[in-house]
Structures are given as structure tokens and as C-alpha cells.
């Protein structure tokens, strides 16, 4: 089933085979990549991992440049610190420290890449619908979706209150006490306003049948299939093997 009128495509649904995949599959790959990056340590293995689960899909999705750019942006400050710390404080030679640092940096890059790739290619509403399709209760999907959606709203609200306080002469200079009062005057309405909305929204959801047991009607269904299902289980299996090998100390990298 393809997306119909109810869910307009903001990011050109079906723009690439990667986009066509069930969002759940994309999520499993992203989570799996992060978990694997945590377990693996060697430069070779991490590079292979990154290439396979981040770079190739990014290329297929025509997001390679953005993924690289954002990953580097996210990882750079940390990466620099890692290199500096590990080269200067290395228990062995600086060269050994540099090797360790490279491993850590690669790990960070891979994790960042996986997260960015997922974020760039999946819309929250799609993920939500897919999770519901696969049986995740609507209460859980509600919290996950709104958890992400609330972030810009809260930041927006904080900015609005900042501007309002600025207009009323909030002292951004001046002594600590003055600034203190000003800042409390900023924070309090933001938080308390959010709490008041909680009450209204609770009532509104209840009256619209939110607590009805059973699954709500889905307006959109993802493209799932046996191949993807197999792939998802495959990722889990590989992860378990990796963790066991890591614990047993036999990991080649």
C-alpha cells in the first residue's frame, strides 16, 4: 500500500530504495550500528561497519554529502579532544595513543553517522505509523513521537519568553541577584505554562478516545516484506554474536 492523501510526502516518499524501506528496518539498522560500534574496537572493523551500514545506504539515499557533513560537525569537537587527550596522556608511546584515538574517533563518527542517516531519511510521522503497524501500543508511539516534537516547541517557547522579557527590560548585564530574578521570571512561565497544557491535553485526548483498548485505525502502512523481516532478525543475531565474542575476548577486532 502506498501513501495516500492523508500523509503527504514532505521528503519525496519513495525517492530511493532506502526511503522505500519500512521505517522499522531503518531504525533497526541505526540501532544495530550504534550497538556494534560500541562493541567493536578495531579500525578495520569499524571502517567496514561504517561503510556497510552508513555510507552505502547514505549513498543510495542520495544523502551522502549531508550525512558526512553533519556527522563530522557533530563528531569534530569531541574528536579533537579525544586525539589530544590520548596522545598526550598515553600510557605507552604517542603512536600507540594515536592509534587508540583513531579507533575512538572512528567509533564516534560511525555512531554519529548512523544517527544522522536515520534522522535525515525518516520522518517522525512515518516512524510512528510503522511502529503502530508492527504492534507497538499507541500510548508508546504517542510518547516517542511527541517527545521529539516537543523539543522545538519548548525551545521556541523559551525563546518567546526570552524576547518578552527582553522587551520588558530583562537585564542581561548587572549583578547576580538582578540577573537571577530576571532568569527566574523567564524560566517559571515556560515550565509552568507547559504543565498547564498537560492538563488540557490530557482531557482533550481522553475525550477523543485515546484510551480505547485495541489499535487505532492506521492511515498509512509501511512497505514491509519477508526480506526486510529476515534482515532485521539478522541484525539482531549478528549483534548477539558480536557481544558474546566480545565477552569471551575472542573478537578479531
Amino acid at each position: 500500500m502506498s501513501a495516500t492523501a492523508p500523509l503527504p510526502s514532505a521528503r519525496a516518499q519513495g525517492a530511493s530504495p532506502w526511503h522505500e524501506l519500512d521505517p522499522l528496518t531503518r531504525l533497526v539498522v541505526a540501532l544495530g550500528t550504534v550497538a556494534a560500534a560500541l562493541v567493536l574496537g578495531g579500525i578495520v572493523c569499524l571502517s567496514l561497519l561504517a561503510a556497510l551500514t552508513v555510507l552505502v545506504p547514505a549513498a543510495v539515499a542520495r544523502e551522502l554529502r549531508e550525512v558526512l557533513r553533519l556527522s563530522l560537525l557533530l563528531a569534530l569537537p569531541l574528536g579533537v579532544s579525544v586525539v589530544v587527550v590520548n596522545v598526550l596522556f598515553s600510557p605507552g608511546t604517542p603512536a600507540e595513543g594515536a592509534l587508540l584515538a583513531t579507533g575512538v574517533v572512528l567509533r564516534i563518527l560511525t555512531m554519529a553517522g548512523a544517527a544522522v542517516l536515520f534522522y535525515r531519511t525518516t520522518r517522525p510521522a512515518e516512524l510512528l505509523a510503522s511502529l503502530q503497524y508492527h504492534g507497538v501500543p499507541s500510548r508508546a508511539t504517542f510518547v516517542i513521537h511527541n517527545g521529539a516534537a516537543m523539543i522545538p516547541r519548548l525551545a521556541e517557547r523559551a525563546r518567546e519568553v526570552t524576547e518578552a522579557q527582553r522587551a520588558r527590560g530583562l537585564d542581561t548585564e548587572g549583578n547576580l541577584l538582578r540577573r537571577g530574578r530576571g532568569l527566574v521570571a523567564l524560566a517559571a512561565p515556560t515550565v509552568l505554562g507547559a504543565m498547564a497544557e498537560v492538563e488540557t491535553r490530557t482531557l482533550a485526548l481522553e475525550t477523543r478516545g485515546f484510551t480505547r483498548p485495541g489499535r487505532p485505525t492506521l492511515l498509512w502502512t509501511p512497505h514491509d516484506g519477508p526480506v526486510q523481516r529476515l534482515a532485521r532478525w539478522g541484525v539482531l543475531l549478528v549483534l548477539i554474536v558480536l557481544v558474546l565474542e566480545h565477552l569471551a575476548g575472542v573478537l578479531p577486532c
Binding site: 492523508p6 510512528l128 499507541s138 497544557e197 481522553e206 478516545g209 485505525t217
Partner: protein
């Protein structure tokens, strides 16, 4: 018919009752207005009629509440949602935030009820049309103005095709044109069989009502046809705004002129 008989309500931890022995009947196909001053208890009565009090808000309810002859006091909220839905005052706060588009937001209620896909889509479409916001269907609801959001909320409630619709100040923050749209939609819903209870302050709202109940200090003081109730000079002492026409007529009589000079009533 939605019937409240001798219903009183006390908020949790409150020292006194907010509603005292309220009798109210809502008949299918009619719009009943609820008039009263700020603290008279209109919002509370809306919460009780819609079942949100005591289920979600807590508190104690005494008296009888039936819908179509069945005692609904022990029904869980989601069972009530099939029959009665409630609109509250803050439009932005009522958005589910879970929908990317206005269409998705309006379809949220019917989807929750588990209706078949085609029915969900058609009720949402119809509700959008009824409220006149089809052109907004692809917009992000959180980016709309307060007035537009209110229209979206009402459409969302109408999409559930409720038998009983309770609205707390639906047109309070709307401009004249949007208010007219909403009142027309409410009338259309009534014509289609819904029973509406509408608490309001704005006098324009009474033109859409078949009956008006006056609430003062938690008691229903009077019920009757809008003309009859609203031309009673005592309403101003209860904090209710006189409709413009009524005020004009009164002034004409006070000035010694024949009010009929004004021509036919609204």
C-alpha cells in the same frame, strides 16, 4: 437524550460543591446554550456533561446521569467517547501534536475509535468541509493562528460524528467571520441529529441555539427559548451580556418609543 438529574459536583479537595442539583436535558437535533458569569460553573458543567469529570479530573458526582436511557456513571471514558465528545477552551492545548497535517489531526478521533479506513477518511473530509477549512488540510496544525486552531479542534470533534457534543466557549477567541462559520457548522451538526451543549459568553452564539439555560453559582436558574431568557432584564445582574438587539429594544422602550419600530426580531 442526555439527562442530568439533581447532579452536583465537587472538585477533589474542595470545601464546597461547584454544581448544585443541576437538571439538564439535551435532545438530539437541538442546540442548547449555557449562559452565565465567569465563575458560575459553566466549564465544570461541561466537564460533567461530557464525562471528563469525575473520570479524568477526579472529584465526586452525585445525582443521575443517563444517555439514551442508560446510566453512564460507571462507564469508562473510552466507552463514552463513542457517544459524547467535549471541546475545551484552549485550542492549542487540545491539539494532539501527533499529526503532521490538519487532516491527520482531524482524523485522530475517528482513527482512535477504530472505524474502518474509508470511514475515517470520509468523516475527516466531511468535517473539514463542514467547518470550511479544506484549504488547510495539508498545513501543520501547530503553525496556525489561534482562531484557525479552534476550527481544527472543532472539526476534529465533529469528525467523530458524536451524538452529543459539549463545547466550552467555542467562539470566544474567533473573529466574526470564523465565529459565523463555527456556529453554522454547529447548526448543521444539530440538523444531522447531534445534540449540542454550548457554553458561551458572546451574544452572537445565542442565535444558533434552540434553548438557553442560565447558570448562576452552580445552579440552573432558568431554561427556555433564547428570546424569552435573554430579554429578561435580570440577566445582566448575572453577568450575562445582553444581545445587541435586546439592548436596543430596551432602550427604545425606556425612551418611550415603540420597540416594534425596530422591525422583526433576529
Amino acid at each position: 437524550m442526555l439527562r442530568l438529574a439533581g447532579v452536583s459536583y465537587r472538585y477533589p479537595g474542595a470545601g464546597h460543591e461547584t454544581l448544585h442539583a443541576v437538571d439538564l436535558e439535551l435532545y438530539p437535533g437541538t442546540v442548547t446554550g449555557l449562559a452565565g458569569a465567569e465563575q458560575a460553573g459553566k466549564s465544570t458543567l461541561c466537564l460533567v456533561a461530557g464525562g471528563l469529570a469525575p473520570r479524568v479530573v477526579g472529584g465526586t458526582v452525585n445525582g443521575e446521569i443517563d444517555i439514551d436511557g442508560q446510566d453512564t456513571r460507571d462507564w469508562p471514558m473510552h466507552r463514552l467517547a463513542d457517544l459524547v465528545v467535549t471541546g475545551l477552551q484552549d485550542p492549542g492545548g487540545q491539539l494532539s501534536l501527533i499529526a503532521e497535517t490538519v487532516f491527520g489531526e482531524v482524523a485522530f478521533g475517528p482513527a482512535n475509535l477504530g472505524l474502518p479506513y474509508d470511514e475515517v477518511v470520509s468523516s475527516a473530509e466531511e468535517a473539514l468541509r463542514l467547518v470550511g477549512i479544506e484549504h488547510l488540510r495539508a498545513h501543520d496544525p501547530t503553525r496556525l493562528s489561534g482562531g484557525q486552531q479552534q476550527l481544527v479542534v472543532i472539526a476534529g470533534l465533529l469528525a467523530m460524528r458524536p451524538r452529543y457534543l459539549v463545547l466550552d466557549e467555542p467562539v470566544a477567541h474567533l473573529d466574526a467571520a470564523s465565529a459565523k462559520l463555527v456556529l453554522t457548522a454547529i447548526r448543521a451538526a444539530a440538523t444531522a441529529g447531534t445534540a449540542v451543549l454550548m457554553a458561551e459568553q458572546r451574544p452572537e452564539a445565542w442565535t444558533a441555539c434552540d434553548a438557553v439555560a442560565v447558570l448562576g453559582h452552580g445552579n440552573i436558574l432558568a431554561t427556555g427559548a433564547p428570546d424569552e431568557i435573554l430579554s429578561n432584564p435580570r440577566i445582566t445582574t448575572l453577568g450575562i451580556e445582553e444581545p445587541a438587539e435586546v439592548r436596543l429594544r430596551r432602550r427604545l422602550s425606556e425612551a418611550g418609543l415603540d420597540p416594534e419600530l425596530m422591525g422583526s426580531a433576529s
